[in-house]
Amino acid sequence: MAYLELKNISKIFGKTTAVEDFNLQVNKGELVSFLGPSGCGKTTTLRMVAGFEIPTGGKIIIDGKDVTNKSPNQRDVGMIFQSYALFPNLTVAGNVGFGLKIAKKPAEEIKKRVVEMLDLIHMPEYGNRYPYQLSGGQQQRVALARALALSPDVLLLDEPLSALDAKIRVSLRAEIRAIQQELGITAIYVTHDQEEALSISDRIVVMYNGHIEQIGTPFQVYNFPETAFVASFIGTLNAFNAEIIDPKTNSIQIGSVQLVTEESIQDRKVGDKLMIAIRPERLSFSSEQKKANIINCQIENITFLGSIVRIEVKTGDTHFFMDTFNNPFLELPKIGETVEITCSRQAVIILNH
């Protein structure tokens, strides 16, 4: 049985539907990310779990208890905000122990728990400092300790790393993940950063316009996107409108290029339109290894991106991006040169809509 369950959740603000028919089951100890662009409803959904917004419809169940209409202070939910939200008038220890004080725990127990939490975030000597004496990363670690001090049923993280610089973001997300796994706490993590979601999550919920587009592991969401939106939002993508030329052999055509896909299209007719996608890293030069699909094309542009080299090729009016690992000894073709590129049948993904 799921530990956290969101059943048919919807939220309407005036004439705007922010979230519609949202269904999700989260297991105990799982970290699920809500990923999507601004305004897709991810934060609204998180705020409904926290109790800051009441759903227009649907139910929220935590550990078998319906908490849909409970106020935020009656749910055992810890929250971490983008802006840290540490209380400026309290020291680090005061902040971490705040919830325990509210819960009227004995002073000794509070002191012990605060020490435990500060050790957990590797800041044992910072108890007497005030928030303004800490860096952004340190403040967010204190916010994490504060949220965890009460051992909440669910930990909610609302874009916790957005205000930090790139290097700290990477190290802190690893720290958050390690602590979450160590404590086995159920967590929901809101982000618009695909790399963050892919690296930290057990599962990702990709959202768009208040709807769930796809739920899956980072591997599934990246490699097998179900919709055009998921495919385009996560990673770089070659997406095309294609036409079926032979359903029996799974053959399709994009402009002058014919491709074969692994996915069955035998239930469709010749001339049917569909949308397909190919990840740039699934394309390679056929001189290396020939695969099921071979495309003759001309080099349009070559962009050096550090660890990878992105090559833009053209055949007729169709453009493809192809990624290849950077290798200092690799001899790249020249712009305008005609080459043969290839991809497997599995690389051609059919998108639902």
Binding site: M79, F81, A85, P88, G99, Y130, Y132
Partner: protein, 277 residues
Amino acid sequence: MTWLSKIRKVPFWSWFWFVLGVLYFVLPLYATLDFSLRMERDTISLKAYQSAFSDPEFLKTFLYSIFLAAMTIVVSIALVVPTAYWIRLRLPQARRIVEFITLMPFVVPAIILVFGLIRIYSSPFTIPFTSIVLMQPLTNFKVGTNILIIGGYTVLGLPYMYRSVDTGMRTVDVRTLTEAAQSMGANWGTIITKIILPNVRTALLSGALLTFAIVVGEVVLASFLGIPAFGPYLFLLGQHRAYEPAALAFTTFLLTWAAMGIIQLVTGGQSQAAGAH
């Protein structure tokens, strides 16, 4: 870079306007101080101050004004803090309306306010369409008049108190702090007393001191409502004496400056805290 070279870098006209501004403010003050020290012919003495402070009416009216100021501050805080808090938290669309209302004292002169108060509250409150009296006119008894003047002062101090508190709440992002406290199990009472008030204390102090300065020197409301406050006393004194009003006016300046100094002292610490965010 030395201070002299820093000064030299500032253009001449900037210095000209700065000096002119300083003279405009300082000269009358200096003239008042100088005049207040010349009660005795051809000597500089504090006799005017001695005379002013030894008048029992001075202490009586001054303490009365302090009492009124304290009550006004309490009422203002009780009115403004929850209002500003709720607007920041739940009703941001009402901010413009409330800001407009709080600016009314700048538009409506105190004389209009006091005549309005007298006109409305000098008649008994009756049950509509009957002659049953619920309450005697507020202007008929001392407590009632005090209530009226505290209400009037609250209105006069509203622009300063509301702005101070609202700015203080914006600086600390009360909305997120409230949500953070709620998620840790805090109820409304705890949130207001343990989180909101401590974090806007500087703003409250600023608003309170400005309100204090307004109330202590106010003449119009107190005169027309017949309240024995410091403002009317100073006004009356000015009509009969020459040096004592100057001495008291200068003392009031010093008190205001002391108040401003306290604000600076307290605000200095918190702006450092806010700056780090």
